[in-house]
Amino acid sequence: MIVAENLRLALGAIRANKLRSFLTTLGIIIGVAAVIAVVSLVQGLERMVTKELEGVGATFMEVAPDFADQTNSGPGIVPRQVRLTWDDGQAILARVPGIRVLTPVVMGKAQVKLGDRSHTPYLILGVNENWPEVRNHAVEEGRFLSRLDLERRKNVVVIGRTIVSELRLGSRPIGKEIYVGRYPATVIGVMEKKGHTLGEDLDDLVFVPFDAAVLLFGRNARDLVRVRLQVERADLVPQVRDAITGLLRQRHKIAPGQPDDFRIRIQDEILRSTQSILGNITAVVAGVVGIALLVGGIGIMNIMLVSVRERTREIGVRKAVGARRQDVLAQFLIEAVTLSLAGGAIGLALGYGAGLALSKVLPGDWPTAHVPLWAVALAFLFSAFVGIFFGSYPASRAARLDPIESLRFE
């Protein structure tokens, strides 16, 4: 018998028992909705992180002091002194081939002020003139810090958009005098808008010359410098990393076998670790949802068994007028699959809706929910599979019914 006819039959049977059909598919609806909601949130997050990191580029690298290895500290043992200085940075630039640009970074918190307006930015960064190129972050108005500004220790500052609005610098912020901590500085540039990442406002940043930041944050800052750089080509990244490691171990006099006192992060690794965390979240949710779908499938099997029993006479009549086993099998199987697919579709819509709503409601600047095509396909495949798997037994029971006994069934 043709599929279209069975589909019409299935829809008729579902319509005839609307409430029951709905309750039957509730398990599937909830299961699919849950997985789609979580996947849409996680995917939105991953998309944003990936985009963010891709903006930095595959040739980005950061060398930072590593405090992680402090396990030897204890009574009588002097903790290892972790240091990373601008001298290290300059040595890297001078001795490691393959580096395009490099900037030291010191960061900390301080107030910025103009008149009676004050604001504490997310971070004050002390960098050199290479920052825009290293971090792929351009100036929108005015100019960035120059080598001359650094050499001559000029009191200049480049600010993010958020600072402009917080301090009410108006439409012509360039040239205005503000205070960064207790040091006055002239605004020479405003950075382009970058938006938010994981709750961090990338526009709430203040850039000052490296030496000015050291002055601002105290002597300790000089010893805890980060070095951010761009390698010339992506294929040189491992080579550059190894060379930096060798150089710094030598400069820091780290004995063979001892761990590094610095950490080198490359964009690829950041991306991979982020993706693996998000992948784990998705996997856990998928597992939970598998259970929900199992329960949903059992619900469908249960109702299909009831339905087969209720319609024993109908099956008898169909067989009497010429329905073969496979006709009856197809009829009930298609009914089960239609039920579960309908549940899957409703779940998909609900899940996406919930994801969108949650991404708006969640604290921080959660990215917009995004449902990838594979999740849609997976939801439907899974629903269809549940329908076929749990519909098979009731359908084969219906197909095997004896026509004489079915016709006699009260």
Binding site: A320, V321, G322, R325, L407
Partner: protein, 237 residues
């Protein structure tokens, strides 16, 4: 060639401790165009015989040739095909599909015959016209009277142009006036050339047939040609 030829047919049910001989060596030949009543009390084996004739079941032993096809050894699916092509059932309890309009009920055998939708609808509509229900095509069974329901069932039995119309106590659930109407419909179908087999225990229903086969204890104990009674064939009493 006869339409139906049963030779030495046995049907034995294994009820655990004992074996029940529902049919005990039945020979029966029915020609095309006959109007036969199979009679017998409950337990005589007439239901078993009807199930065999209708290809719902196969004999334990013996042979059954229906329209040149030996059907005694066919499997489930082949029997379904034979039923679809050769047999039109009319049941005591109508057995229409609920929540399904008359037209679709009549269409049912054609669906399993694999006919395209337009042709099915057309033939189903004509079958309903033949039983006088042209104006009830979109009524559901619960919107129809008992007599009308049985007419829909007759239309369903006719729609495939089967070799045999097989009616099992077709008036058992109807009042006497409606019974008369339905029997007149069968008489008319017979006059139109259909082979009709009635299974009944009511003598006055059997009177409509022109051959009565009497069953008792799984055996044929009487087989009479009966000239139509005076009220037939016009149907007037």
């Amino acid at each position: 060639m006869p339409l139906i030829e049963l030779r030495d047919v046995y049907k034995i049910y294994d009820m655990g401790a004992e074996k029940v001989h529902a049919l005990n060596g039945v020979d029966l030949t029915i020609e095309r165009g006959e109007y036969v009543a199979i009679m017998g009390s409950s337990g005589s084996g007439k239901s078993t015989l009807m199930n065999l004739l209708g290809c719902l079941d196969t004999p334990t032993s013996g042979s059954y040739v229906l329209n040149d096809t030996p059907v005694q050894d066919l499997g489930d699916n082949e029997l379904a095909g034979i039923r679809n092509k050769e047999i039109g059932f009319v049941f005591q309890t109508f057995n229409l599909l609920a929540r399904t309009d008359a037209l679709h009920n009549v269409e049912l055998p054609l669906i399993y015959a694999g006919l395209p939708r337009a042709e099915r609808r057309d033939r189903a509509r004509r079958a309903l016209e033949r039983v006088g229900l042209a104006d009830r095509t979109h009524h559901q069974p619960n919107e129809l009277s008992g007599g009308q329901r049985q007419r829909v069932a007759v239309a369903r039995a006719l729609v495939n142009d089967p070799s045999i119309l097989l009616a099992d106590e077709p008036t058992g659930n109807l009042d006497s006036a409606t019974s008369k109407e339905i029997m007149e419909l069968f008489d008319e179908l017979h006059r139109g050339g259909n082979t009709v087999i009635l299974v009944t225990h009511e003598p006055d229903i059997a009177e409509h047939a022109n051959r009565k086969v009497q069953l008792r204890d799984g055996k044929i104990v009487g087989d009479h040609e009966t000239p139509r009674s005076p009220r037939s064939p016009s149907g007037a009493a």
